[in-house]
Amino acid sequence: MAQLSLRGIKKRFRETAVLHGIDLEIGDREFVVFVGPSGCGKSTLLRLIAGLDPITEGEFFLNGQRMNDVVPSRRGIAMVFQSYALYPHMDVYENMAFGARLMGLSKDEVEARIAEAARMLRLEPLLQRKPRELSGGQRQRVAIGRALVRKPAVFLLDEPLSNLDAALRSEVRLEIARLHRQIGGTMIYVTHDQVEAMTLADKIVVMNAGRIEQVGSPRELYETPANTFVASFIGSPRMTLIDVTREGDHLSMKDGGGSLAPGALPDAAAMKLGMRSDAVLLTRGQGGEGFAGQVVYTEYLGDNAYVYVRLSDGTLLAARVGPNDGFEPDTPVTMTIAPGAAHFFFRRGWPAVGPIGPKHVHTEQRGKNEKQHDPHRRCPGRDGRGRTRPGPGPHLLELAPGRPRCL
């Protein structure tokens, strides 16, 4: 059983504020991934949960118990570090036994737990080796094993795959997912790689500049991103975002050129139009409905290909096409959007409405921790205390202040 509750967590290192108020609930047996760009505070948050750094402000509860002043070793939390942090002077067995013995377990119990962890992680032949005699992947498994034998309520993993090569990475990723199913503990996993986040998580916490941008399942984040930051962070290639203005039933690009009518339009004059690569339809030649552009280059991936198109306002658009669709560079093309696949974002990077169309009925699938997804119910530009959150980039503030709902 492990229920974590973070309330208004703030962290400052001297004058530098790193976390600006984190509210988060994590349920038992959940696999939660903190994801965000470097320096967004995700590792700091993990260290606060571990107790390695003190919390400046706010409260952290584990199973209803306030943990702010509990030392790390008494929290029932184990951590797997980015560099593995194995004790170099102890062999694999000792590395795993060290923490277990300090918990005051009997000798037999320690031995039994190590045997179990070693079997689960296939470490039996390595027990007598020193860490320096192990490969990166083996060290990784020992680090996980060391956490396992303590049978903690919560596992913290700090970018555990970042020191492994690409092939090993996907293998260990599967291993971790399997372990989570097997032992059923609560896991919190930090990464900057959105693919890891998408494949592992029950719940993703997208962080940026010391704040939580959105919390939700991988599907929710992909299909109904709360703002332009989440939209462009989740999914590969990135979602294309274009500044558009609404004119009647049509949308036109800011610097002129092209217009398109993707169906019922939200009630605003200026907005950002977001499109995933699979939502874009390209046709050769220009003129007619849609935005005009020129092919810059094509990435061929075998089962499909990505075409990058420079639109007339300078935006680089990514579009997925069939592998045989051969768009040569400099081909003039026209872009339209698949029905119901467009996302619209309004001022400060927050959406007034989700994607339009029957494909995206997202009110039912909203997780209990998810906040402010439905702009009609709650003003999305503000957090719980009524303050306006700053947006991810200054360019968004240039949008016309014509928003009727959220000012």
Binding site: S73, M79, Q82, G99, R132
Partner: protein, 306 residues
Amino acid sequence: MPKLRMTGRGLWITILIVPPLVFVALFIVYPIVSAFAYAFFDWQGLRRGEFVGLDNFWTVLFVEPYRSWTVNAFTHNIVVFFALMVLQNGLGFILAYALWRELPGARFHRVAVFLPVVLSTIIVAYLFKLFLHPLFGVVNISLKGIGLGWLAQPWLGQGSTALWSLIIAQAWHMVGFPTLVFLAGMQRIPGEILDAVRMETESEWVKITKVVWPLVAPSATIVFTLLFVGAFNWFELPYIMAGLDGSPYGSTDVLGLYFYRTAFGNVSSGQQDFGLGSALAVLIFIFIAAVASVITVRLRAREIQL
């Protein structure tokens, strides 16, 4: 092999290397080698006499009164070594740990602890001689001032306290050195390893004994070996604070003083014997070299690649 033509670079290298090489050979290598040779001859003042084989060695080791002088000085060196191992290296380790954990004022104390190391031994020795003066020394005056007058002693004037006074002066002087070496060793420990220990225990004792200490083993090797060499070569501080005789009554006599006295004579008697002196020097050298090698090899074995 590159041809060394006496032009340009090669010429410069030669010009720069030859003078110090000659200097070292003339004033360091030659005296050491000749000291070995002197030990096998009989000496009458400055005049070299007969070749006597191992007689000089036999005399300093087994013939009275040299035998008991040797034993006395050697015993004191052993005491000094173990006392400094605790007071200098032990305290140095604890200080290094405190500095490493960034306790309040760590920046100031990092400088303060190392400052005495920079001072000349002469200054430290005279300073402590003044501190420990029986009548107007700051130690006795302070003791009387706080009502502990019965603890006041003629620290350097009685056999029971003289050697320990020297040891404490030496420890104060040099404690910054092991501190610095240990601190450097600790700073090499990756931060995540310390974090990993903190996830498993909050006991400082476990952290120190099970993780920090094994991981600073390379620093310990250096510090132990240097202390061993230093303790058995100890000369300046006892020479200044206790004099050439190891006063009072040989209670501070150490091998360094004993050798010097034997070889070059002493203020009161003026006797000098290069043969016995050289024999002592050779014995000290062999002892230090042998034990230091053993210490180094044994301690190296428990060092860990980080």
